[in-house]
Amino acid sequence: MSTNDFPSNAGTVIIGAGIVGSSLAGELAERGRDDILLIDKGPLSDPGGSTGHASNFIFPVEHSKDMTQLTSDSRDIYREFDTFTNSGGIEVARTEERMAELKRRVVSAKSFGEEAELLTPEEVEELVPYVNTDIIKGGFYSKGAGTCDPLRAGELYRQQAKDKDALSTAANTEVTDLHVENGEIQAVETDKGTVQADEVIIAAGLWSPKIADMAGVDIPLSPAVHQMVSVGPIDRFEDGEGEINYPVIRDMDTQMYERQHGNDMEVGSYEHRPILWDVDDVPSIEESPLSPTQPPLTEDAFEDSMQHALEIIPDVLDDPDAGIRHSIDGLLSVTPDGHPLLGPIPEVDGLWSCAAIWIKEAPAIAREVSKWMTKGHPDIDIVAHDHVARFDEYGETEEFVKSRGYEGYQKIYGIVHPREQWQSVRPLRTSAFYHRQQELDAEFFEAGGWERPRWFESNADLVEKYEDEIEGLRRPNEWDSRWWSEIILGEHLHLRDNVGMIGDTGFGIFDIIGSDAEENMERICVAPMDLDVDSSVYTAVLAPNGGFVSDLTVARLGENHYRVITGGAHAGQDKTWFSDHLEGDSELIGRSSELCTLGVWGPDAEELMNSIAEEEMTADSFDFAEMKDVTIGAVDAKAFRISYVGEFGWEIYAPMDQGQRLWDTIYEAGQEYDIRPVGTGVYGETGRMEKSYRLMGAELEIDYTPAEAGLTLHGVKDADFIGKEAYAEGIEEENSATLCTLSVTDHAPDGGERRFMTGGEPVLDQDGNVLIDDEGRRSYVTSAGTGPSVGKHLLMAYLPQEYATEGEELQVEYFGQQYPVEVEVAGNGGVFDPNNDRLFRNEY
């Protein structure tokens, strides 16, 4: 297409022709989109974004199943295009701490199905003779690692789409505006003309926020510098054929890599102080000496990196003819949590984001997003952690994005604990209970931007009180006990014996209101929605393939009024899903910031609450799952008889402005019962693990069906709903796997320190082989947490049917060591109080 015949209409417009946009074009064409227009302000095939300066290596192993899968799939795609070179890669450790982390990586590789092994320094030297082995303790060898050519892959993807007659491209075409009407995308305006479009995807890399702004929405990312220099010519590489003959080295402790590229050595660093840019300061193509994303190296920031590079590969860098031939502050995108920003943008129908993606995972992410667009859901779970809507209502300001981007930058090669908390821009969202919790020395964790107490230092006395119960569950290893406290175990036991209050406004709450609210709710939710007013139900929400979109609680507040309560970290995604699937006149109204939630649970909860409420608050007056108006002291609220910790009690919803009064009323009256504030260490972990309650994003994900998760308690209702067919089939069919709860039977099989898993570990049979089900899914620990009431460390994992029986003895691998475990519960039901006597207030 010449620039003169810019089209006036297109089915799909993709903005950005880097690896992401080009892959999207190919993948969408593959899935039947036949009128795609790909626009970029730069020329093809290198329009000047991050794709053009990336170092292009692929290390497939991550501590996340989805990312490992996406990276591995991308590698397959690059390979199909003949744009992948399997050089292998080695992460080297200079410290013992890093060596332990490399062991953890081997375990993750095992969990998620990548080949990996630990190397001694001598073995590293055999593979990469120029590494200075005097300063390393060993290495992590990823045989499957390699390098790719994303510019070429992009070209081939575009060609593929053009061969189908599905794609036209408009290079050197700058987007100047997005037209939105009635919350729907209408057209893309460019300097070459305006094109009407049914759907628009922003795949513009670090320019994405600027494009999003044209539609009045946010894509929360920031450009950040990744420094890289290229040193050559290196004599050693002269005789090598092709671009790479030695494994890529990642010098993890200095956050650097050294990668051969022809007769050059590319030395890249994430070590330097984070340098974040404003997108408006990124120069135009014409103004850039190299390209917009390749500003000159900030030399002083690179000084330590030069020192470290000279330490690790002195032989190569001291080659007498070699000099620094190229050096840049390469710009890439960082997000507030390091994850990509994918999916439908909540505020504008037909507008999608596909941004903040590394080269190594781009083609597969584009493939999954194209599935999301064409059939309503991806096959790999990029919804739970990568949905662009996850910062909805709180995390889209420049200060937040920049501060978290700055903080996250240092984690790129860091050793990140699975429970590690963000430090910057906190507190951001505080509930009405926050000051009271602070007074009680709460240790706050963050979820969905909300400050939530994990435990209370003021409860330290409970550790002494329950010394005997806690004794065997102490965690002597620093890693195991990082971001954790024994106080959690004390709080748990106290709540089970007396009463605890959990002030936990981390919920995402929204209302669905409209004359057709019931029809809408029926269509979206698995459970029947013809509820009585004031009653509620726990339900799954499924994708058309039967995979999990969410699990949440729905209460009916009126004939045409439903309230949806979901996890705070998942609120944005769920809101987007509901609003995208609402039909007719029903409206979605966000309530998260208006309402606070205070849970009161435990054996004394009934007596306590009944004593202060105007209405009767007893097991007799409240059915399970019933939600009713109550007045507690001076506060009008809604009490909801439900529990995520397996105890009798209520979640009480009050207006946020009266939350502190509610807290004080209950806390003061509760002194008689020794009420204690309890943190999410109990609510989210110990309590739920003992009860085998599933967690969205951990157990509940797109790979497994509700039947496999043991969540088909509602059967199949008559009304049609999204995912019904697959759901019904899942119930009929023999499961390939069942979600089980296991316990660790020996924490120190070889003596020494007792270890406590944190999640993500592979589940092995007695011979040490990873369990794999009929569908090729590997068993790994989806959640881990201690159950103090049962005196065991508990794990959840999907096991192949043949292993999913109570008493089955298996193993898990943790930091290179194997530990015996036993299946406690196969399928639904808790390890503690399996009959739910406590929850239902039966005699016990």
Partner: protein
Amino acid sequence: MVLALVEHDNGEVDDTSLETLTLARDVAEQAGESLEAIAFGPEADGIAETVGAYGVAVLNTVDHADLDDYAPEAYGRAVVQCAEETGTEAIIAPGTDRGAETLSHAASKLDVTMAAEVTDVEVGDDYELTRQRWGGTLIEHARLSADTNLLTVAPNEISASESGGDAADVSAFTPELDDGDLRVQLTRVEESDIEGVPLAEARVVVGGGRGTDGDFSELEDLVEKIPNAALGSSRAAVNEGWRPHDDQIGQTGNKIAPEIYIAAGISGAVQHMVGCKGAENILAINTDPEAAIVQKADWAVVADLHEVAPAMSEELESRGHAD
């Protein structure tokens, strides 16, 4: 009076000097002054007619036994003395190596600042100049205010035009030189004799990229048919192992500055374009009309290089260019 330095080759005036005369005449007219010229060398009086046609009233020919050959500082001295004798308000020289060098010496001797690469002058109390910086990518408007304003003219920016006039009066002028003025003299002239041109010095570079599919034979043939030509390649071709690393043009390879770069089957990645930004002209041969190289080229042939290159070789041969 305005004095213009005129360079000539045995009586034939250089184009740059004609441009200089055109600007100098404009300055003289604005200032209401007469235009004179100064020329060196044995055949200098042979240009009287030409410079007259450009409005020069008097041609000062430098007559000095030691100045038959170029000697920059002495030239500068001569210009200064000529200007002082004739009461000059401006001296204008072509922005050539010699012109700039001569006038720099003059400026230094007069203790005034010279303005280089000038394209336009507005004469008022001072001279308001337009001049080029950054190789013409930036224009400077500046004010020059000296007793004598010295400026060199940016080559190829002004179109030379005659004003119609009789041959200039020739006035021979003999400068008085100091010993030091002849410290530098042209020693000799050598003819170049270049075989096997290195990439960085080639006047024509033919580059091949992924579009060659590894077959560079047609491009090699083409290079052989063009004098002072060399063959290079993109990083993609080197990465594929098709060409040695030494052939790579780009950020991390060779930087070329030919008269014309013929880029065949090269997409024009940023790192490649950095290596060839010194090229005066680019001819792209590429099957993709949207390739970056096509956007940046001056000419493009949108076709397969494996067909275009042999056709070019054939055409060169049939026109008698091939060796």
